[in-house]
Each structure stands twice: as structure tokens, then as C-alpha cells.
């Protein structure tokens, strides 16, 4: 609704004649490289594309039937869901805790904030490589650390669950800064008068957090939830470089599996497109459900 009431340059007639000049480039680029491919994805998911010649043949729903009987697909779907289930609440909870900490009275606060943000700007490939330096089973830093302190050495690479844990840990390292940015912005928007009023009423620190701060963080939480889930369903770089989906398919996620299928040795692009469509549908479904839930919660509160 608000988009309709946008104040614009009022002109009589159909509108500004130079509008196409200004909107054209971005609309063209986005239309050609984002909207059109999205439509084509649906088409290609119903085809078989020959690996070498690139010849496209219509196969109907065959790709989806293959998917329904593909254990690696289900494994990567499950892994992706598990990854989201752990990293999304994990990074958000830690991000919130850090935001509260960094919003309190603290010496050298800007320095601490910078340190938490820093991993944000590092590329997924670099993060994966740094992760491999940490988690390498025979020559990694964590192994040396464990030996130094007499702790048990974890088989980060050969054990499936440990490898999965390594992917989760490195993801938390890069994601908490982003969650902290969003929560910190939200915390700074909480009017201090509310806290003072609650304190006058005798609310304890926890009660003030639970009943004053937390409800006001709702929009930030909603935003982070959507963004983090999209990230999870998209995750590729770090996993690809750190574990390559292994050992076996213990850390195979939809991102790495779709890439391997379409651009790996098999080069089955029709099937790859079909996996992409599933990723898209899952992301959209989640976003819509969350959006409706948040709207229902807001309407209920009014």
C-alpha cells in the first residue's frame, strides 16, 4: 500500500518521459539475468540436457521422479535442513547475546564490535581455507591445540558428524557478526524511557529484557530468520572448499549437490535445474509461511 502513495514528481499525463531512460538499464539487466532465468529454470527442469552437445530434450517430470528416488538428494536435503536448524537459531542467539553485550557499558567498545564484524567481509573460499587450516585432522591448528592442552583429538575430516560440526562452527564464525549488526540497530532503537518506566515499576533485569526489549526486537528477528534461512539453503562456498560435501555425503548440501550435478563430471543440467527449482520452492514456501505468521502475530498484538 505504502508503495502506491510514494511521493513522486507530479506530472500531468502518463508520466515522466525520461523514466525509461532511468529505470531501463536496471530493469533490463535484472529481467535478462534474474527474471528470465527463473522462468527458464522451470522449463529446463522438465528437460534432459546432453552433457556435451547441450541438446535439450523434453522429458516431462522424469527429473522429479529421479529426485524422489535419489538417496543423495535426500541426504543433502536433510543436511541442509539440519544445517539451517542449527546455524539459524545458533547464529541469531549468539548474535543477540553479542549485541546486548556490545550495547552495554564496555571499554573499547568500537574495537570489540569491529572484531566481531570482521569475518563478514571475508570470502567464502577464504573462510573455507581458513577452516581447513583449523580443522585438518593431521596437521590442523585445532589438533595442535588439543595436543597442547591434553584434550582428545577430534577426527574433523574422517568422521561425518565431526565434519558437519566443523561446517556449522565455521558458519557461526562468519554469521554472528551479521546477526549482531541487525540486533544492535534494533536495540539502539528501543527508547530508554521504556526501560526506565519498567524499572520504576520494579521489573528485574531479566523481566525488562523479556517483556520490554525482546518484543521490540520482533521485526529484526523476523528479518534475520528469513535472511539466514535463505543463506542456509544457498550455502555453497564454505562447504565446497572446507569439506567438498564429504566424507561420503555427510556434509553434502543442496548447494553443493546442485553444482556437482549440473557442473561436475556428470553435467546433468536438466536434473541440476530441477534441484534448483526445489531449492527455490522451499525458500519461497518458508518465506511465505514466516511472513504470514509475523503478520498474524502483529495483527493479534493490536
Amino acid at each position: 500500500m505504502s508503495a502506491l502513495s510514494v511521493p513522486g514528481v507530479r506530472r500531468r499525463g502518463r508520466g515522466d518521459r525520461s523514466a525509461p531512460l532511468f529505470a531501463g538499464p536496471v530493469v533490463l539487466l535484472a529481467g535478462l539475468f534474474l527474471v528470465l532465468p527463473m522462468g527458464l529454470a522451470l522449463v529446463f527442469s522438465l528437460t534432459e540436457i546432453a552433457p556435451l552437445s547441450g541438446k535439450v530434450g523434453w522429458v516431462g517430470l522424469t527429473n522429479f521422479a529421479t529426485m524422489a528416488a535419489d538417496p543423495t538428494f535426500f541426504r543433502s536435503l536433510l543436511n541442509t535442513a539440519l544445517f539451517a536448524l542449527v546455524t539459524v537459531p545458533g547464529s541469531m542467539a549468539i548474535g543477540l547475546a553479542l549485541a546486548l553485550l556490545m550495547n552495554s557499558v564496555l571499554p573499547a567498545r568500537p574495537l570489540f564490535r569491529t572484531v566481531v564484524y570482521l569475518p563478514l567481509v571475508i570470502s567464502g573460499v577464504a573462510v573455507g581455507l581458513i577452516g581447513s587450516l583449523l580443522f585438518n585432522e593431521t596437521s590442523g591448528v585445532l589438533r595442535a591445540l588439543a595436543l597442547t592442552f591434553g584434550l582428545p583429538v577430534v577426527p574433523w575430516q574422517s568422521s561425518g558428524p565431526a565434519a558437519f560440526a566443523s561446517v556449522v562452527l565455521i558458519t557461526l564464525w562468519i554469521r554472528v557478526g551479521f546477526c549482531m549488526i541487525i540486533y544492535l540497530a534494533a536495540l539502539q532503537a528501543v527508547p530508554p524511557e521504556l526501560h526506565e518506566a519498567a524499572q520504576v515499576e520494579g521489573a528485574s533485569g531479566w523481566q525488562r529484557f523479556r517483556h520490554v526489549t525482546l518484543p521490540l526486537l520482533g521485526p529484526a528477528t523476523f528479518f534475520l530468520l528469513i535472511m539466514s534461512v535463505i543463506y542456509s539453503f544457498n550455502v555453497f562456498d564454505t562447504v565446497f572448499v572446507l569439506t567438498g560435501g564429504g566424507p561420503g555425503s555427510a556434509t553434502e548440501v543442496l548447494g553443493t549437490y546442485a553444482y556437482d550435478t549440473a557442473f561436475g563430471p556428470a553435467r546433468d543440467q536438466g536434473y541440476g535445474a530441477a534441484i534448483g527449482v526445489v531449492v527455490f520452492v522451499l525458500t519461497m514456501a518458508f518465506t511465505l509461511v514466516q511472513w504470514r505468521r509475523s503478520r498474524a502475530a502483529r495483527d493479534g498484538a493490536l
Binding site: L4, V115, I130, F178, E196
Partner: protein, 297 residues
């Protein structure tokens, strides 16, 4: 204000004095402060640790980690850098990254600014639906359109050229969203006044609107640079000639060459990471502002 309600006013003043810091008795306050500092230091150590070992490894000779933990390069050396530079065209990968990220950034900032202006300040048929469509593309997962995008770019004959990375990269619609948001806050009267004086729309954009957009340009530039400099999956698919590699693909390629030679790998990781880290340290305010608004990453 406070003095108007004498009896309760005192309590309010009292409470206000407390909330300025942490509430509670002075002793507890001090304990709380100490705990927070300890927590912050611990967090900082954990966050910096991976970067620190990257640095140490990059400047250490030989295999840095076998049995014992090393937190300082024993014999600081640039050997890792010279070794890799001698064997692979890392310099041209760096140059490729600068060129691709640079051109893409300039393009994407330009189309975001003009587009943002059109969506915020111009009136035209279909403005709202087109904007909503662009907004929706922000939610398309990269994975979902990988195959069709590749086939499209390939049918345009762009695969194996930098344009295959630059053109789709410039279509990053987060910029439109940011630019529109920013430009809507510019008073329409300003634009109207120039109009009344007979200025054309391009003229209004160029000499009235653009000069007000410096913070916006800073945010757009930094975010686009970060995104393009780090982009991996798409360049990996369309730039297959080692001469055309950008740093992220080059890094991943070197991982296959050097395996667990972490001295070499960390030297190159540092090389690929340092420019953005420096940029971030200098322009942190804009980065944070941009990330908080768009949620990119």
C-alpha cells in the same frame, strides 16, 4: 517535567541515575562490568583466532603445524608468497579481480542510482509492479537459476569472457532497493522547484539529486565491491581459463595444487582477504549501515 509530580518524581530521578549505568548496588555493578569485559575479551579472542593463525601460517616457513601450537612465526618469511608467485600467475588473478570487481561495481552503482531515482521520484505506468518484481528477485537463491543463467550467458557467447561475470553481477537488485529507500527521503519539493525553473529530468538528477547521494554512493560501492570481490560460484562456472581466474577461483585452484601446504595457501588467502579487510576497517560505518539495510550476505 519531573518536578511536577513531587512524590514520584524523586523515584524517577533516582531510577534515571541508576539506569545511566547498570542497575543495582555499586558492588554488583562492578562485578557485572568485570564479567562483561571478560566475556568481550573471550569473544574477541575466539573471533580473531582463525585470522591470527592465518597470518602466522602465511609468514611461517615449512609446515606450520604438526604437533605443537605456534602463535608467532618462528622465522618470519615472505617465502610463501614468492614461492606461489613464481609458480602461478597470481598477479594477473589479482588484476582480474580488481578489473572485474571494479567494472561490475561501477556499472551496478550507476544503474542502481538511476533506477532508484526512477522508482522513488518519477511517475510512470507500472512503477509499483516492476519494483515489486525486482524486490522479489532478491529472494531468488543463486542455486535455483544456476543452470538457466549459464545457458543464457552461454547462448549470448559470453562464457569465457569477463562480461559473463560483469553483466549478471551488475544486475544485483539490492542496490535498487537501497537507492530507492535513500532517494525517497530527499524532499520532492527540491525536485519540483528545479522543475519549475525549467530543468529537464536528467538535469534534475545530475545536478540536484546526485550531489545529495554521496553516502548512498559510498554504501552501494562498498557493498558491490565486497560482493563482487568475494563472488565464487558464478565465476567458477563461467571463467574456466586459468588466465581469466579471479582470486576466489584462483584460491580454490591452488587448494588443489598445494593440498595441505598451508604456508602457501594462507599466504594467498591473506592476499585475497587483505584488501577488503582494510577497506572495511576504513569505511566500517558505511558497511554496517548498508548491511543493516539490505541484509546482503
Amino acid at each position: 517535567m519531573v518536578a511536577t509530580v513531587p512524590t514520584r518524581g524523586l523515584t524517577v530521578v533516582d531510577a534515571r541515575a541508576h539506569t545511566a549505568r547498570t542497575p543495582g548496588r555499586p558492588g554488583r555493578r562492578r562485578v557485572g562490568w568485570t564479567l562483561r569485559v571478560v566475556a568481550a575479551v573471550l569473544v574477541a579472542v575466539v573471533m580473531v583466532f582463525p585470522l591470527w593463525v592465518m597470518l602466522v601460517t602465511a609468514f611461517s616457513s615449512g609446515s606450520a603445524y604438526s604437533q605443537t601450537l605456534r602463535l608467532w612465526p618462528s622465522e618470519p618469511t615472505l617465502g610463501n608468497f614468492t614461492r606461489v608467485f613464481a609458480a602461478w600467475p597470481v598477479g594477473s588473478w589479482f588484476a582480474n579481480s580488481v578489473a572485474v570487481a571494479g567494472v561490475t561495481t561501477v556499472l551496478s552503482v550507476a544503474v542502481s542510482l538511476t533506477g532508484g531515482f526512477a522508482f522513488a521520484k518519477l511517475r510512470w505506468v507500472g512503477r509499483t509492479p516492476v519494483f515489486l518484481l525486482l524486490l522479489a528477485t532478491m529472494m531468488i537463491p543463486t542455486q535455483a537459476i544456476l543452470v538457466p543463467q549459464f545457458r543464457l550467458v552461454s547462448s549470448l557467447g559470453l562464457v569465457g569472457t569477463f562480461w559473463a561475470v560483469i553483466l549478471p553481477g551488475a544486475a544485483a537488485t539490492f542496490g535498487i532497493f537501497l537507492a530507492r529507500q535513500f532517494l525517497m527521503a530527499i524532499p520532492t519539493e527540491l525536485v519540483e522547484a528545479a522543475r519549475v525553473d525549467g530543468a529537464s529530468t536528467p538535469r534534475v538528477f545530475w545536478s540536484i539529486v546526485l550531489p545529495l547521494c554521496r553516502p548512498l554512493v559510498a554504501v552501494l560501492t562498498l557493498l558491490a565491491l565486497m560482493y563482487q570481490w568475494n563472488d565464487f560460484l558464478w565465476p567458477l562456472i563461467v571463467l574456466r581459463d586459468p588466465a581469466l581466474f579471479t582470486l576466489p577461483i584462483g584460491l580454490q585452484f591452488l587448494q588443489g595444487q598445494y593440498l595441505t601446504d598451508y604456508g602457501a595457501l594462507m599466504a594467498m588467502t591473506l592476499l585475497a582477504t587483505a584488501p577488503l579487510v582494510v577497506l572495511f576497517l576504513v569505511f566500517q560505518r558505511y558497511f554496517v549501515q548498508g548491511l543493516a539495510t539490505t541484509g546482503l550476505r
